[in-house]
C-alpha cells in the first residue's frame, strides 16, 4: 500500500493535482465563510457548484439565450478578432525579426524602438485606437496585433542571435547559399524562442480583446462582463466569464505548447 502511494506521488501530474485540490478547498472554505457573513454571497464568492449549475441551467439571462449560450456567442465575437490579431501580430513580429536579422542597418534603426514599445503600456492606448479607427472590431484586431507583435519580434530576434559562430562556419564550409542558411540553421534555431514569444503574447491578446469590448457597449465578452457586474443580468454570467477566460488563457498556452511539440522534432527525441 505504501509503495503504491509512493508510485503515485512520483507521478508527474500528482503535485499539480494536489495544488489544484488545495485551491479548490481554499475556494470552498472561503465560499462557506462568505455565505455565512455576506448579504449577497454570490457577488463575492459563490460555491463552485453554483457556478457549474449556472453554466448548465436552461434559464434565459438575456432575451433568448441561456447563460452559457450568451457567454459563448459573445466569446466567439471577441476571441475570433483577438485570435486574428494574435496571428497577424505574430506573423508581422516574425517577419520583422527576420528582416532585422537580414539587414544590419534596419536592425540598428529599429531595435531601440522595439525595446521602447515594450515599455509602453499598449492597453492604455486601447481607447485611442478605438477613437482613431472608430470601429470596435478593427481596434480589437489592431490592439491584439500590437500586443502580440513585440514579444514575438524580440524573442525571435534573440533566437536568431543565439546561433553559434561554429554553425555559420560550417555553413560557410558547405558553401551554403544565404536562403539555405536561413531555412536550415537560423529559422530552426529561432523556433523555440518564437514559441516562447507566442506563449507570452497569447494571454495578453485575450486580455486585450476583452478589454477593448468594455470600452464600447457593442457586444462581446467584455461588454457582457460589465453588464453582469452592474447586475443588468445574472451575476453568474460574470463568474462564467471569469472562469471561461481563465480557461481560454490556459488552453491557448497549452495549444501553443502542442504545436511547438509538433513542429520541432528534436523536442520529441528527448
Amino acid at each position: 500500500m505504501k509503495e503504491k502511494f509512493e508510485v503515485l506521488t512520483n507521478k508527474k501530474w500528482f503535485s499539480s493535482l494536489l495544488w489544484i485540490l488545495l485551491l479548490i478547498i481554499a475556494w470552498e472554505v472561503g465560499a462557506f465563510v462568505v455565505a455565512n457573513t455576506k448579504r449577497i454571497p454570490e457577488n463575492v464568492l459563490p460555491h463552485l457548484y453554483q457556478i457549474i449549475i449556472a453554466g448548465f441551467s436552461t434559464d434565459k439571462v438575456t432575451g433568448d439565450m441561456t447563460a452559457t449560450q450568451a457567454v459563448l456567442s459573445s466569446a466567439a465575437q471577441t476571441l475570433l478578432r483577438g485570435f486574428l490579431g494574435f496571428v497577424l501580430g505574430a506573423a508581422i513580429g516574425f517577419v520583422f525579426a527576420l528582416v532585422m536579422k537580414m539587414s544590419g542597418v534596419l536592425e540598428k534603426v529599429l531595435f531601440p524602438y522595439l525595446m521602447l514599445i515594450q515599455l509602453i503600456p499598449v492597453l492604455g492606448l486601447a481607447p485611442i485606437v478605438l477613437a482613431i479607427t472608430g470601429d470596435i472590431n478593427v481596434s480589437r484586431v489592431i490592439i491584439a496585433a500590437i500586443l502580440s507583435f513585440y514579444p514575438v519580434a524580440t524573442n525571435t530576434l534573440a533566437g536568431f542571435k543565439s546561433v553559434e559562430k561554429e554553425k555559420y562556419d560550417l555553413m560557410f564550409i558547405c558553401a551554403a547559399k544565404p536562403h539555405v542558411i536561413y531555412t536550415k540553421v537560423l529559422i530552426p534555431a529561432a523556433l523555440p524562442y518564437f514559441f516562447t514569444g507566442l506563449k507570452i503574447a497569447a494571454p495578453m491578446a485575450v486580455t486585450a480583446s476583452i478589454l477593448v469590448d468594455t470600452l464600447q457597449g457593442d457586444g462581446g465578452l467584455g461588454c457582457l462582463l460589465s453588464q453582469s457586474l452592474k447586475h443588468a443580468m445574472s451575476i453568474y454570467v460574470f463568474w462564467l466569464i471569469v472562469f471561461f477566460s481563465a480557461f481560454v488563457g490556459i488552453l491557448v498556452g497549452k495549444v501553443i505548447g502542442w504545436i511547438e511539440y509538433g513542429v520541432s522534432p528534436w523536442k520529441r527525441r528527448a
Binding site: 534603426v109 503600456p121 492597453l123 485611442i128 482613431i132 477566460s245 488563457g249 490556459i250
Partner: protein, 284 residues
C-alpha cells in the same frame, strides 16, 4: 608573432560604402545616429500631419506633439498625483509578487515533489487575463477598509502581485535548479547540508535569472496596474485618467496621460538597468 600573416592590398581599393561599413567609429556611432534619425523623421511626420493622413485621422484624436507637451505642463500637478497612484500600485505589487514568487521557487527547488506542481499552477495564473482577475479581487477586497481609495488600491496591488509572482517564480526556479555542471556534486562531496547549498550555490546562481524575470515583470506590472485601474472602484491613476478623458472626448489630455504612462515605463526600465549593472557587476 613571427607567423603573423601580412595581407597585402591587392587589386582595386574597397569601395567607399564598403570602407564606411567597416569603419569602427561609424559602427559605434550608427547605433545611436540611425535610430535618432528615424525618431526625428517620425516626429517630423507627426508634426507635419503626414501621419494623420496615413491613419485617416485628425489633430483632434491625434494631437500634435507640442500640444501634448503643453498640456502635460499645464496639468502637471494632476498628472503627478495620478502617476504616484499608479506607480505605488505597480511598485508594491512588483515587490510583494517578486518576493512571493521567489519564495515559492525556493520551496519548489528544495521539495521538488510537491513544489513543481505548485509552479505549474502559478504558471496557469500568469495566463489568466487581467480583466478576469481585476473585478473578482475588487469584490473580495470590499471589506478591507471603509476608505474606497485604500481598498481599491489593495485589490489592484493583489492583481499585480499575482502576475509578478508567476513570472518571478518560473524564472527563479530555473535559476535555482539549472546549476553549472558538477557544482551540485561538489557541494555533496563537501558534505554541505541543504541550507548551505542553498545559500552558497543556488541563490547566487539565481540572481541573473531574477533580473531576467524583472525585465519582463517591470513593464508588465505597470501595464497590469493600468488595466486594473479601469475596473477599480476608486477613480485614480494614469490608466483611469486616460479612459475618463477619452469618455469626455478630451483626446489631448488623454494623450498627455498616455505620454506619462510611456515615461513611467521608460524610467522604471532605466532604474532596473542601473540596479542590474550595480548588482551584477561581478558577473560581467
Amino acid at each position: 608573432m613571427e607567423y603573423e600573416v601580412k595581407l597585402e592590398k591587392v587589386g582595386r581599393k574597397k569601395s567607399l560604402s564598403q570602407r564606411i561599413k567597416e569603419n569602427k567609429t561609424w559602427q559605434k556611432a550608427s547605433t545611436i545616429v540611425l535610430p535618432l534619425i528615424f525618431g526625428i523623421v517620425l516626429v517630423g511626420l507627426w508634426q507635419t500631419e503626414v501621419l494623420h493622413s496615413w491613419f485617416h485621422t485628425d489633430t483632434f484624436t491625434l494631437p500634435l506633439i507640442n500640444k501634448i507637451g503643453g498640456i502635460m505642463g499645464d496639468i502637471s500637478d494632476k498628472i503627478l498625483e495620478n502617476t504616484i497612484a499608479t506607480v505605488e500600485v505597480a511598485f508594491f505589487g512588483l515587490v510583494i509578487g517578486s518576493v512571493l514568487g521567489y519564495l515559492i521557487a525556493m520551496l519548489a527547488a528544495l521539495y521538488p515533489k510537491i513544489g513543481s506542481g505548485g509552479l505549474s499552477v502559478i504558471g496557469a495564473f500568469a495566463s489568466i487575463p487581467v480583466v478576469a482577475m481585476a473585478p473578482v479581487l475588487n469584490n473580495w477586497t470590499k471589506d478591507v477598509s471603509t476608505d474606497a481609495n485604500l481598498r481599491s488600491m489593495v485589490s489592484k496591488i493583489i492583481v499585480v502581485t499575482l502576475i509578478c509572482a508567476a513570472d518571478m517564480g518560473l524564472n527563479a526556479y530555473r535559476g535555482l535548479t539549472e546549476l553549472k555542471p558538477f557544482s551540485e556534486d561538489l557541494m555533496a562531496i563537501y558534505g554541505a547540508p541543504k541550507k548551505i547549498t542553498l545559500w552558497k550555490l543556488r541563490i547566487p546562481n539565481s540572481i541573473p535569472y531574477v533580473f531576467t524575470a524583472l525585465k519582463v515583470s517591470v513593464p508588465a506590472s505597470i501595464m497590469t496596474a493600468i488595466v486594473s485601474e479601469y475596473f477599480a472602484e476608486y477613480i485614480t491613476g494614469v490608466g483611469r485618467a486616460i479612459r475618463e478623458n477619452i469618455v469626455l472626448a478630451q483626446y489631448s489630455t488623454a494623450w498627455a496621460y498616455i505620454a506619462t504612462a510611456c515615461l513611467i515605463g521608460v524610467v522604471a526600465y532605466v532604474v532596473l538597468m542601473v540596479l542590474q549593472s550595480i548588482l551584477l557587476r561581478r558577473y560581467h
